[in-house]
Symmetry: C2
Subunit: 193 residues, 2 copies
């Protein structure tokens, strides 16, 4: 069985988007700075190769509804996931099929059901979960194996926080990683059962 | 002239103490876990030598009042600072002199005045500032040169946050550091003017 992971860039003050995140402003004001490390000093081809490599083991995704709503435009007609995406939502909708193996399937019976579908689809490949609320939910339920965080040396001041919750306290972590030349800490936090 | 710095251990979710921090519970519930990295695998003598070395270049300190109130007991009769400490407060009080060169002087005319006194006392040695509110104040005023952060792989869920403020957004950082074997990221964030 593959890993369930969330891969997120977070500002030093704990935000995974800037303020005023909404459809048309997917990363919030200044939030694009969170992802600059992934392309810094790289050619366009290198950036694409790096993204492909990061997503190579991906068998399925589970996204929150907000994540899909702000992302579906920018990800375009051939999204980078090349895997089925299960979207946790209260609003039923028809599955949307994109080019290159990505589809968006709307799951209305909760995060457990979405993860079950993702596990079936992924086989022994990995499952990426995304969207702050859904990541926290799986963190608390013990369903996430790894948080892959990139702690970026910027202060955003406001936006969507990854950690908001006294319940986070129950989660035990083991960590390893490194700090790159731009001062971004790339750390894998394994969740201990 | 020496550096003005703050040296802080912070949980992955952004807290520099656990919940319920007060006199008699200086680090808050579970907050002692923030500092375990400094003594992990070391003998008592090695811990002491490590602390001495971290404080060797210290010429003066500026603390917030809360920091002094919760710390003055634990720091004891010969505090580790061996330098004058200027305490920003609204309540005037007589200077308290401890053994080994540490004194606590209460400054009632604001953080700028406290830092001026600290600079006079420190000469070309460094100045450590401590206490979340006072660190933020100096961060916003541009008086801090370095944040030396130790990002510890624990989630505290609640407590005193280092970063709380939309104003943090104005601060530009340059960072370098490393991640130790226990997964603690030791990063120096230099504030750019």
């Amino acid at each position: 069985m593959g890993l369930v992971y969330a891969d997120l860039s977070m500002s030093l003050d704990g935000f995974i988007t800037g303020p005023n995140m909404r459809v048309g402003n997917a990363m919030g004001d200044d939030g694009d700075r969170l992802h600059e490390w992934a392309s810094a000093g790289k050619s366009e081809a290198e950036v694409e190769a790096f993204l492909e490599q990061r997503l190579a083991s991906l068998g399925a995704c589970v996204f929150g509804r907000m994540m899909l709503d702000v992302g579906i435009g920018p990800w375009g007609d051939e999204p980078p996931f090349h895997a089925p995406v299960f979207v946790v939502t209260h609003r039923p909708a028809e599955t949307i099929v994109k080019a290159g193996g990505t589809s968006y399937t709307f799951v209305t019976d909760g995060p457990d059901a979405a993860l079950r579908l993702a596990r079936q689809a992924a086989g022994d490949q990995d499952i990426a979960v995304a969207g702050a609320a859904i990541v926290r939910q799986y963190l608390h339920s013990g369903d996430i194996d790894e948080l892959r965080l990139h702690i970026v040396p910027i202060l955003l001041g406001d936006g969507v926080r990854l950690f908001t919750d006294a319940e986070d306290r129950s989660v035990a972590l083991a960590a390893s990683g490194s700090v790159d030349e731009g001062g971004v800490a790339h750390i894998v936090y394994r969740i201990r059962g």
